[in-house]
């Protein structure tokens, strides 16, 4: 029972982690808490729905297409909604991200309606049993892809010129410009990467939770809680925070009371904010 709850928590936790990565990236490069992260997940899920279900494109092709579409939308949104506010005050930018999220959500609601769309299982949903332990292949994939992406992102930020320049630009835009780094391009790239990561998170949960315009709201907030939990400056922290949150939720549901699941997630976040404001991982990348 305990182990089973842990395994369930791990899968949903890595989805939270992927969303948290988006918050971390946006915080790093834009110094803004970007509350439209959950809607990036929603858009990603819709793209996969459009390509795979509506246009009947094979999943192996639909995935890269949906990722490309996510990247393109990220680019357009950055140009229209984020770029104009680069120099604005922090609170204005924060509000702008909330506004962008609401706009995107309602746009999708107008286009697709408020009803959920079913999504076929990609990874198989019939459980495999190892003695009494039940493992759903889908969850295995979600966890695996989540971790793989986090590791890739970390390598990108630590090992590549672009990644390092991205971090440098995030820490000091003016000085980064003095190094010859094109700061605005770097910020655009960050936004696109964050949008794609969010989009992939959305694609991963599409078969689990269906696809609908509002699907990003709660999951986006959970991602935020995970980012705060792990440390808003840390890639590792984002994943750790996501996993802890996912497991805590499941344990709370299993052993305390399922009515308080969400409350426990946010209580955990508030506790961390009080006692360790820099998060579990602090400032280590």
């Amino acid at each position: 029972m305990l182990l089973q709850q842990l395994i369930q928590g791990l899968a949903i936790g890595s989805v939270y982690g992927l969303l948290a990565l988006g918050y971390v990236l946006m915080w790093q490069a834009w110094a803004v808490l970007d509350f439209a992260r959950g809607d990036a997940a929603m858009m990603g899920a819709f793209f996969l729905l459009i390509f795979n279900v509506f246009l009947k494109i094979h999943i192996l092709l639909a995935f890269p297409l949906a990722i490309a579409a996510s990247a393109l939308t990220g680019f357009i949104i950055e140009r229209l909604a984020y770029r104009p506010l680069v120099g604005a005050r922090e609170i204005n930018r924060l509000i702008a991200t909330i506004g962008a999220g609401i706009l995107i959500r309602n746009l999708y609601r107008v286009m697709f309606g408020a009803d959920p769309f079913p999504f076929p299982t990609i990874f198989g949903e019939h459980p495999i049993y190892i003695k009494h332990l039940m493992i759903v292949p889908q969850n295995l994939w979600i966890t695996g892809i989540g971790f793989a992406l986090a590791i890739l992102l970390r390598l990108f930020l630590l090992k590549t010129w672009r990644g390092k320049a991205m971090r440098a630009a995030a820490q000091d835009r003016e000085t980064a410009a003095l190094m010859g780094i094109r700061v605005k391009n770097s910020m655009t790239l960050t936004f696109v990467v964050a949008t794609v990561l969010g989009g992939i998170a959305g694609m991963l949960i599409a078969p689990l939770y269906f696809v609908m315009a509002d699907m990003g709201v709660l999951i986006g907030l959970k991602g935020f809680a995970a980012a705060v939990l792990g440390g808003i400056e840390s890639v590792t922290g984002a994943m750790v925070g996501g996993i802890i949150l996912g497991i805590a939720e499941n344990l709370a549901g299993g052993f305390i009371s399922s009515g308080y699941q969400t409350a426990i997630a946010f209580a955990l976040m508030i506790l961390v904010l009080i006692f360790r404001p820099s998060g579990i991982m602090g400032r280590r990348l």
């Binding site: 390092k164 000091d172 000085t175 190094m179 010859g180 780094i181």
Partner: protein, 252 residues
């Protein structure tokens, strides 16, 4: 090598530079001295393209650079060590150095060689290469900032207040390094409030006050100049007493 002509810079409605002109010749160490808020930092930022002039022109090696993008200006061979050092706090020492070489990132071997050279000039940096820059002391951060600027192999190195906030002994070390860099062939434009130190290493100097150049001369001549001594070399109070108030208003 570098020629500024009639540069006027505004921050909103406030004019920071009132049409200044200056030039730096190849191989020189030129210093700009002047009080706080005179426009020294603004002058350097204008050269790097971080702020833009409304009038006039900036030429580097005979070519106009005032309409180029920031990264293109850096690409011409101009590098700035900004005021307050501005190392990237949460990048390691090594990563900071690499960022200095960002524009020549395809030149792997060259970068490796330059990093090695920087470690020779600043052995402390090698000891701390894996540390985050924010954990360095002020003097070490200044060394890192200079080394980072050198990583782009600049023809002209500009330094903004390299002595700020550092202990006298550390300042002395930094200035020795600046001279050494110059001797190896890099032209230097130095902005300093510590005018005594600056004039000691410089060939020529400009005095900037409220956005205007009020004096240009060889460093030796500036050192001897009465009003410079009074205003910027810390001899103001002494002179004032000696002259019994007759020079009031020269502004220390």
């Amino acid at each position: 090598m570098l020629e500024l002509e009639n540069i006027q810079v505004f921050y909103g409605p406030v004019q920071a530079l009132h049409g200044i002109s200056l030039h730096v010749d190849e191989g020189e160490i030129v210093t700009i001295i002047g009080p706080n808020g005179a426009g020294k930092t603004t002058t350097l930022k204008t050269i790097t393209g971080l702020v833009r002039s409304r009038t006039g022109s900036i030429k580097f090696q005979g070519k106009r650079i005032d309409r180029l993008l920031e990264d293109q200006i850096v690409g011409q061979g101009i590098s700035l060590v900004p005021e307050g050092r501005r190392v990237f706090p949460r990048l390691t020492v090594l990563e900071n150095l690499e960022m200095g070489a960002y524009l020549r990132r395809s030149d792997r071997a060259g970068i490796q060689a330059d990093i090695k050279r920087m470690y020779e000039i600043f052995p402390r940096l090698e000891e701390r290469k894996a540390q985050l820059a924010e954990t360095l002391s002020g003097g070490e951060q200044q060394m890192l900032a200079i080394a980072r600027a050198l990583m782009s192999r600049p023809k002209l190195l500009m330094l903004d207040e390299p002595s700020m906030g550092l202990a006298p002994l550390v300042v002395k070390g930094i200035f020795e390094i600046i001279q050494k860099i110059n001797e190896e062939g890099t032209t230097i434009l130095l902005v300093e409030q510590n005018a005594r130190m600056a004039l000691r290493v410089a060939d020529r100097g400009y005095v900037l006050r409220t956005g205007e150049i009020v004096m240009e001369a060889s460093a030796a001549d500036l050192m001897k100049n009465e009003s410079v001594r009074r205003a910027y070399l810390g001899e103001g109070i002494y002179s004032l007493e000696k002259n019994n108030g007759s020079v009031a208003g020269t502004g220390a």
